[in-house]
């Protein structure tokens, strides 16, 4: 179908974008890469009166080395994130998860910031941001604020970004030398994750010294498996990893849908976490 009519604004700065959102009221929506919003518009599941296109805002592009963190503009595409030498060197888990987003065409166009702000519970990057302790810079009429990942993801498709605010960038603490693996189960090509596990580990000798684990689609937002992280410290065998991964589903209340009931999702969380950690650690 053809989208319903809307007014189109293409700001060139973040301040102009915020002004356009304020002027547009609650019915204004940001269009980044558009790979989530365009299908919504086409199917007329949403009919915003104003579209604010942020794709020409230079400040929201680019990946920069900020010393102990890598700062990624919200408008950087998935393709640019996955191939960035800075990301691959310091944020191996983000690169691994981003390679799994949709397909080439969508990765060429869709943006990391858009995926974060859309906050689909099956999205591949939110659990990475949560597990790695990322922080989000948000601009609004009152200026800018920084929100930790633990407070950014609020509920299904809901984040800390208000209707008159713009996600400008995401800062990820460097995890240099950490290895990573993203283990995703989906039924068909292009499909969203039924469940996925994001694991990154720092090895010391043959054992895991530190671990960060995020889970995709195990609740209304991403989940960090802190009990597993703690249990993995010192693990050097497959048996130790498997024992730690047994705690992956603890305290979760996963959604039930046609693809999986809650019990199956919990089983997947344990199994995929075990596989992701083993592959990240190089232990078999």
């Amino acid at each position: 179908m053809i989208p319903a009519k809307f007014d189109y604004v293409r700001p060139s700065t973040v301040d102009e974008a915020v002004a356009a959102l304020v002027a547009g009221g609650d019915d204004a929506k940001i269009l980044g890469g558009g790979q989530s919003l365009m299908p919504v518009l086409r199917l007329r599941m949403g009919e915003p009166s104003v579209i604010v296109d942020t794709t020409r805002i230079d400040e929201m592009k680019g990946i920069t080395d900020a010393g102990d963190a890598i700062v990624i503009g919200a408008g950087v595409t998935h393709d640019e994130v996955a191939k960035s030498p800075l990301v691959r060197e310091h944020l191996a888990l983000l690169a691994a998860a981003t390679e799994h987003v949709a397909d080439r065409q969508i990765r060429h166009r869709g943006t990391m910031g858009g995926a974060m702000a859309h906050a689909d519970p099956a999205g591949d990057q939110p659990p990475v941001a949560l597990a790695m302790g990322a922080s989000f810079t948000i601009a609004g009429p009152g200026g800018r604020r920084t929100v930790p990942a633990s407070e950014f993801f609020v509920d299904y498709f809901t984040t800390a970004v208000g209707p008159d605010e713009v996600l400008v960038s995401v800062s990820f603490p460097k995890h240099t030398g950490w290895s990573a693996h993203y283990e995703k189960l989906n039924r068909t090509a292009q499909a969203w994750a039924i469940v996925a596990a994001a694991a990154t580990v720092r090895m010391d000798g043959g054992a895991i010294a530190e671990a960060r684990i995020g889970l995709t689609n195990m609740g209304p937002g991403p989940i960090r498996a802190t009990a597993v992280e703690q249990a993995l410290v010192g693990a050097s065998t497959m048996a130790a990893i498997a024992a730690a991964a047994e705690q992956a589903a603890e305290g979760t209340s996963p959604t039930e849908d046609i693809h999986a009931d809650a019990e199956f999702r919990k089983h997947l969380a344990r199994t995929l976490t075990k596989r992701a950690v083993a592959k990240a650690a190089g232990i078999s």
Partner: protein, 157 residues
């Protein structure tokens, strides 16, 4: 209405478009590039794939106004006169199509993949075209076509 200036298959076009116009609809109805087809309403099928500033995109998922100032290559811009693009030749030689509906998008996706990776493995080809659906072939001959295209373009053997 928004004024746009887009280069399509090497020719510059100026137009007034409604902001809600999808790039694929403008290409077909505004520029006459009917080789680029619409296959679904869900961003899944990839039949409408074109190159936008050299990278593959699904033109149903981009607004025409977003292509303002950009360069678009459609399936109709691949050949030079009577000389087909090697990917087109390979699809013909390897019978990489049956009904042909997915072919414009499949060819554009393959061109984009080979631009980045001139000698992809079979697995890389299958991963590279997984944004494109074909309901006839089971993909077997499409993968063979991309492998042969890589050979024609000097990337293999």
């Amino acid at each position: 209405m928004q004024h746009i200036n887009v280069t399509v298959d090497g020719t510059s076009y100026e137009a007034e478009v409604e902001p809600r116009t999808l790039l694929v609809h403008w290409l077909r109805e505004g520029v006459g590039k009917v080789g680029t087809v619409v296959g679904c309403d869900t961003s899944n099928c990839g039949a409408c794939t074109v190159l936008l500033d050299g990278r593959s995109v699904k033109s149903c998922s981009v607004l025409a106004v977003q292509a303002d100032g950009c360069e678009v290559t459609t399936i109709q811009g691949l050949s030079t006169g009577d000389d087909w693009h090697p990917v087109q030749t390979a699809f013909k030689e390897c019978h990489g199509l049956q009904c042909g509906y997915c072919t414009p998008g499949m060819v554009m996706a393959a061109v984009d993949l080979l631009n980045e990776n001139p000698s992809p493995s079979e697995e890389e080809i299958r991963d590279g075209i997984h944004g494109n659906l074909c309901r006839c072939t089971g993909y077997h001959n499409i993968v063979k076509s991309v492998q042969y295209a890589a050979e024609l373009m000097g990337g293999r053997k």
